[in-house]
Amino acid sequence: MVRSGEFETIVRPHLSYLYALAVRMCGNRAVAEDVVQDALLRAFRGLAKLRNRERPRLWLTRILTTSFHDRLRAEHTSDAVSVDENFDLFDKIVEEDPFPYSDRVHLDFLELFDDIKIIEVLQRLHPSHRVALILAYVYEYKTREIAAIMNKPLGTVLAWLHRGRKQLEQDLWEYANRNRLLTPQQEAQV
């Protein structure tokens, strides 16, 4: 039995977290808002299943993740991606040497990406890989927690994390080139 206002009290402290997670998953504020609303509705309907009302974050995360995947299914979003298993961003930066006057080239490369660009790069990943990476590296969930959130075996999540990281390295490099983020430094050396 839900007491009047109880749902609101449980969920309100987590609204900013849910919104930020949804923006990272969806890459779009308007879509993120819809996904959060859908998740809130599902959470409200399923509140009786919440065992620990003092710590609802994992439960809310699972619901939000389901809402996100259901929305992708409804939009028939294609999630086929190819991953080059041999791509190594660390070596690529050394080979291409985009910052010839720097002694911290790898850090310089990462500093090309503000949070908006990072979110854009994440959108190129397979949705399941993206969600696993976000949960692992932005929110520091343990792999077994991610498996519970995504309702998948541990081995599947480990494979997603591996492929997601490979794809992320590749996409960071491609994004930097496509958006000419490396150009000023390259011109400076001419």
């Binding site: 839900v2 007491r3 009047s4 206002g5 109880e6 749902f7 609101e8 009290t9 969920v11 309100r12 609204l15 900013s16 919104y19 930020a20 923006v23 990272r24 504020r29 808002e33 959060v36 609303q37 809130l40 509705l41 409200f44 509140l47 190594d88 961003l89 660390f90 790898h106 850090l107 990462l110 990406f113 503000d114 949070d115 908006i116 990072i118 979110i119 990476l133 976000i134 692992a136 590296y137 932005v138 520091e140 792999t143 480990l158 994390l161 591996h162 990281r165 992320l168 390295e169 960071l172």
Partner: protein, 79 residues
Amino acid sequence: MINCKDAVSRLWAYLDRNLGRAQQEELEEHLGLCRHCCGELEFAKQIRDRLKQPGSATEVPPESRAKLETFLKGLGEKS
């Protein structure tokens, strides 16, 4: 001892603490001798930290917060 290719393939799992004890010891033995792989490990940490860095892009704008609060309140009143 494992080679660099094997070591690099284990770095992220090492950061995630998902390696078995034997695999971890092999990697640490390699890292103790290989500057290149230590650099790769440091870079993997930097990528992880970059993903984690908060920014304005994920803050709830006031109009979205108002909408979500209203929606939440509406649900709360149903209970």
